[in-house]
């Protein structure tokens, strides 16, 4: 799985370390591809905040997007992605440098997002009754494909996101979600069938 590169372009940094895109809007700057992920983790373990920032910039957007596509809730996605990075900071000293960072992060993000989506789906009939309403802040999905993914069951959303956004193999997905590989394949197949019209249209 290749880490998704962060879109960027010419950017400057203010004195807070926030980078700004050419149009003046704050944006996350691209990272140097020269520094390998293993080197970044090693540097972070030595206490280098720049390495942590580089890791964050490499992995934030895929993590946030994955969490958003599974939860369909911007606040939940932000919390889930943030917590995954904070967890990474906490276990940094115990992290196995030989292993790639992204699958580890994606496993946490997807499972947390899936838990959230399932719990939310279970609560919905109660909320719908009107007595126990807890309005959740929800962002509108602006993209057709994302909207179509949002209509899938949470389990299907998770496998679609892991396969086609984060680009993991079905075998990796099976390991991440603790599922038989056949289950992953059948969920993918069914989800793809449901998405067929939106993707090609």
């Amino acid at each position: 799985m290749g880490a998704t590169d962060l879109p960027g372009g010419p950017a400057r940094r203010d004195d807070m370390g926030v980078s700004h895109a050419a149009d003046g809007s704050a944006a996350l700057a691209p990272v140097s591809a020269a520094r390998s992920e293993r080197a970044l983790i090693q540097a972070a373990r030595r206490g280098d905040p720049g390495a942590v920032e580089d890791l964050y910039r490499r992995h934030w957007r895929p993590a946030y997007r994955a969490a958003f596509l599974v939860t369909r809730d911007a606040h939940a996605a932000e919390d889930i992605a943030q917590e995954a990075f904070l967890q990474a900071i906490r276990v940094l000293d115990r992290f196995d440098r030989a292993r790639p960072f992204a699958p580890w992060l994606h496993r946490i993000v997807t499972n947390r997002a899936l838990d959230w989506a399932r719990a939310h789906a279970l609560r919905r009939p109660v909320e719908a009754a009107g007595e126990l309403a807890a309005p959740a802040a929800r962002s509108e999905l602006s993209d057709d494909v994302a909207e179509a993914i949002g209509r899938l069951a949470p389990d299907q959303r998770a496998v679609i996101v892991l396969r086609y956004l984060l680009e993991h193999t079905p075998g990796e997905i099976a390991e991440m979600l603790d599922l038989p590989r056949g289950t992953v394949n059948s969920r993918l197949r069914r989800a793809l069938d449901e998405l067929a019209g939106e993707v090609t249209g």
Binding site: P49, Q82, H120
Partner: protein, 381 residues
Amino acid sequence: MNAHEQLLTARLASFEAPGEIEAGERGRRLVLAAFVERTPVRSRRFHLPRLVWPVLAALLAASAVAVAGFLRDGGSPRSARAPFGAEVEDGVVLALGRGVASTVDAHGRIRSLGPASDGDLSPHARNAVLASGSFLVAVNVEDGQVRWRMRAPGPVSLPRWSLERSVPPCCRVAYLSAGALYAVGGDSKGAHIVARRALAVAPAWRPAVADHELAYAAPDGVHVVEADTRRPRARVPGRRAPISLSWRADGRELAVLDRTGATLYSAGGERVGRLSAHGSVLAGGFAPRGNRLVVLRRDASGRAAVLVRGAHGPLRAIRHLPLTAAGDFRLSPDGRSALVASREGDEWLEIRLRDGRLRHLREIGRRLRAGFSPRVLAWAG
């Protein structure tokens, strides 16, 4: 990948989630701040003779299976299952923040159970009962599924699950609504009024008895009744306004806490003794196991302290807490620790009762995604 899948990959590659730039910037600051605050562990390098490495490799190979399992979980024993880190050392805590109840367990697993204003856990923490407006809602803690939901005559408060360590319908849930005390079966059947007038003090189920005996506070004192039949078992006059009722684990003694201390009564209602807290009592009760009576007190200087009494003797302060505004106070299911929710900072304090050791659970509301310093409704398991 076929053409359809390639197209989907391409469409998702160009997908932008709403708010990702702003959220990314907020997260960046948070993550960097967390990184700076952490204490880095410096790696030690051992220079071993070359011949030692094959021996070490052989030794390590013997534990390859365990290592493989460890690595599968991402290099951390709890990483995949417990992304938030362990919040409590034992059992399950029911927390309340932003109007939503959630549980967090000793592995750091967090489960959102639904909207609530109050709640309690069953003894094994398999079920939670939540007060939500005029509804009492029982929720399966493991999957968050609502088991049942029933309407009460008015807003529900202080629900308390009885102490049988088996599954519904064995048990009862007591709750207050519209100034009266009610009880209902653990399967939502048989809801009935127990007392027409009850004070806003949590009712206390008597442990270690076969029938469902319940202590509750009324304007004329503290009563003990059989919840199903409403048959009175004991009554103690209310000289002081009670703030908490608690049974000793063997069910033989009832502590009635008021603002200045605790009065102990036998199960039959005879007064056994009086314990002064030498300050203002905020909360307290008997530990779920053993004989410990634990009290949270605020002294004249405004500081909070935890007081403990064993089987005998007075209440003794074991730990002064670095806060003056304490919120909820709960004892661990094994009776070894207490949890205090701070109302000054976003943290819970866990106090080991044996020696007063203090553990700060900082940024607890943020970690539980439950607002600022969430309430601690129950601790069970």
